[in-house]
């Protein structure tokens, strides 16, 4: 908070142009009420969805387990881990889809959690911080993620199977994940150390747009398939428990 106050004081030292003023107002909104709103929707919406699922009726499996079947916990953990890579029997499509998925999932995680200005942003909100990754790694990760996400989109638009099963959620989720990436790349004019060394924001409008796209992602997150970030864990575990009970090694 101290950093934020001193920046505001610093900005007041010189008169701002109209466009700069609008940009800074937008940034203030993006950093302030919009961020709070987006985080609230993200947290409350995700909880609502998780609790809503959790409150569905339970249908316990009363059949006796296969002799020698692992515990529920073990069955769940095995399925969670086994689901991390496809079986070779399911062919090249499964391998390529999985590999591409890994590229953009890891890429997005690296960019979000490893880029020094992002860590500074998170630090301002939560007081948490960790060492940043070097800028070249970030550029590489961002580039790979961009290509990977475009490939995923291309595949979704051209594969007969994906065209058959896709709905609006797929395009919205792809867009809200893609927008922060491209708007973030648009403000990459300098090294992260140069950005952090400066005591005021010089690209107010692009940065505000970048932040707003992140907030869009947070707002959409509980309503669409981005929730798989939480749900995959439980979905795999449930199947793991069902199958290990039967003595099936998935």
């Amino acid at each position: 908070m101290g950093t934020s106050s001193s920046r505001r004081s610093c900005r007041r030292l010189r008169p701002r142009s109209n466009s700069e003023s609008v940009a800074m107002d937008l940034l203030d909104i993006a950093r302030g009420p919009m961020l709070v709103f987006a985080l609230a929707v993200f947290v409350l919406g995700s909880l609502w969805r998780l609790i809503g699922i959790w409150r569905r009726p339970r249908m316990p499996d009363l059949s006796p387990p296969r002799s020698g079947a692992p515990s529920k916990l073990s069955g769940a953990l095995r399925a969670i881990v086994r689901g991390m890579w496809p079986r070779k029997e399911f062919g090249q499509t499964a391998a390529v889809t999985t590999l591409n998925g890994y590229v953009f999932h890891i890429g997005l995680a690296l960019v979000f959690f490893g880029y020094a200005p992002h860590i500074a942003f998170i630090h301002r909100i939560t007081s948490l911080r960790w060492p940043a990754l070097p800028d070249p790694v970030m550029y590489l990760a961002a580039g790979a993620t961009l290509i990977s996400m475009l490939m995923a989109l291309f595949y979704r638009l051209t594969s007969p199977v994906l065209r058959k099963i896709s709905n609006a959620d797929d395009m919205i989720s792809w867009s809200v994940a893609f927008l922060p990436l491209v708007t973030g790349m648009a403000v990459l004019g300098e090294t992260s150390s140069a950005i952090l060394a400066r005591d005021r924001v010089i690209y107010g409008a692009p940065l505000a747009v970048h932040l707003l796209t992140l907030e869009l992602l947070l707002i959409w997150f509980p309503f669409g398939k981005l929730m798989h970030a939480f749900l995959f864990f439980f979905a795999r575990a449930a199947t793991g428990i069902r199958f290990s009970h039967r003595g099936v090694s998935l």
Binding site: R56, D61, G83, F90, V161, F223, G247
Partner: protein, 434 residues
């Protein structure tokens, strides 16, 4: 069910309900299925399409409509509108269209003709969604709406009348007496007390009575008290496949109640995959508690008898390949048991390219074998199995499910292929040590 009603021509629609009534019944049926696991699985799909790569109907045809998650679309829409955490929002904003009669008729084919409940897609899903279970649950809603392929509906009506799709219980003693005479074995029927209640698959009560005789030969050899019984003898459970929960419960209770009545501690299931799914894993839910008896499939019974030395078999000494029945292996956990029995028979196992939990279905599970209009699709799937069997180069082709054998025999007949699938039970019975 009057003869007039049962003979009424219909396009896969039972009864005279209005479309609106049918849709409402289907929606009610769909929604009543959404427990926590089903809800989790409905919510977790990222529509990656990898389930298509696992489905034999998609692989055999290349038609995207056979993508397993697509087969669940009306079910998914019902969930989103009626049971999901954001259902009020979805309805208020009209975000998801309510399934209508045209949808349900279209999906009738996808849910019944082109899904065998084999669950290969479940193994492929990176989110761990048990798609086969969801299709089975979706069938519950379809059945309530009276939307079932006509042949399956006919079998349903028969089972409701007779407790079996094959024969009334009254005829069982005669069928068993005839088989006993033909094969020279004792087949006890309706004993007042027994330790094991032995059950059959429908085909074993008709053309394939050798399986009954072989089971009798083995049971008599080990010297246990066993019987078959008019009040509970057909384990195939057509209600399980059709989505008729009421019938599934009734058929299940017939077996359990009969076993309890005669003091049996074990129900022995025939070589039938769906019998295993219905009885071994679902019987207890109708009682609301763990059952006071054991339900065991013929394959694991043979495996146990051989393992503890109560049954000894001669070595055949040839190569064999094995078709893994989906409900017994992928969804039943008996992959190793069947292989141990093959090993005891001295058969050198040459695995199919896809085997075990990723083995391809025969194409006839989930009632598809009985659904004539699905035959052309089924034959395409058979070609995949045939190629893998031929590629194995094995001399013998063995499986442990009677329904799979019938499906494979139908495919073989269609393609003039001279490689009948042999029964594991029959191989054991034919090779008992003197």
């Amino acid at each position: 069910m009057s003869p007039a009603t049962s003979a009424k021509p219909s396009f896969d629609m039972r009864g005279d309900e209005s479309n609106e009534t049918r849709v409402a019944a289907a929606m009610h049926g769909f929604v009543s299925e959404f427990g926590v696991t089903s809800a989790l699985h409905m919510e977790s799909c990222v529509r990656c399409g990898l389930c298509a790569e696992a489905c034999h109907f998609y692989i055999a045809t290349g038609d995207a409509k056979y993508t397993p998650i697509y087969k669940l679309d009306p079910f998914r829409r019902a969930y989103l509108r009626e049971a999901s955490p954001f259902a009020p929002l979805v309805r208020a904003l009209g975000l998801v269209r309510r399934p209508d009669m045209a949808d349900l008729q279209q999906w009738l084919e996808l849910l019944y003709d082109s899904c065998t409940l084999c669950g290969r897609c479940t193994v492929a899903c990176p989110m761990g969604i048990d798609l086969a279970e969801l299709v089975k649950e979706a069938r519950h809603g379809m059945f309530r709406a009276g939307l079932v392929p006509e042949r399956l509906a006919l079998m349903d009506r028969t089972a409701r009348l007779w407790g079996s799709t094959a024969t009334p219980g009254d005829d069982l003693p005669d069928i068993l007496a005839e088989a006993a005479k033909q094969y020279g074995v004792q087949i006890p029927c309706d004993l007042a007390q027994a330790d094991i209640l032995v059950t059959a698959a429908p085909a074993e009560l008709g053309d394939h009575t050798k399986a009954l005789a072989d089971a009798a030969k083995i049971l008599n050899r080990i010297g246990v008290r066993w019987t078959m019984h008019q009040s509970g003898f057909d384990a195939s459970n057509v209600g399980f496949n059709n989505g008729d929960l009421e019938l599934q419960e009734r058929l299940t209770r017939a077996l359990i109640d009969t076993a309890r009545k005669i003091g049996a501690t074990t129900i022995l299931l025939p070589e039938c995959g769906h019998a295993y799914g219905a009885a071994r894993w679902e019987a207890a839910k109708w009682y609301g508690a763990a059952l006071p008896l054991r339900i065991i499939h013929m394959t694991e019974f043979l495996d146990e008898l051989i393992a503890d030395g109560r049954l000894r078999v001669n070595k055949i000494g040839e190569t064999a390949t094995f078709h893994d029945p989906c409900q017994i292996v992928r969804r039943g956990g008996l992959e190793a048991a069947a292989r141990r029995v093959l090993g005891a028979l001295g058969l050198e196992l040459i695995e199919l390219k896809d085997h075990g939990v990723t083995g391809f279905c025969c194409g006839g599970g989930g009632g598809v074998v009985s659904n004539q209009r699905a035959a052309p699709l089924r034959h395409k799937v058979f070609e995949m199995k045939k190629k893998q069997v031929e590629a194995s180069g094995a001399k013998r082709f063995v499986t442990s499910c009677g329904q799979c054998r019938i499906t494979l025999a139908m495919g073989a007949k269609q393609t003039h292929w001279d490689k009948p699938a042999e029964s594991l039970l029959e191989l054991v019975a034919d090779n008992l040590t003197d």
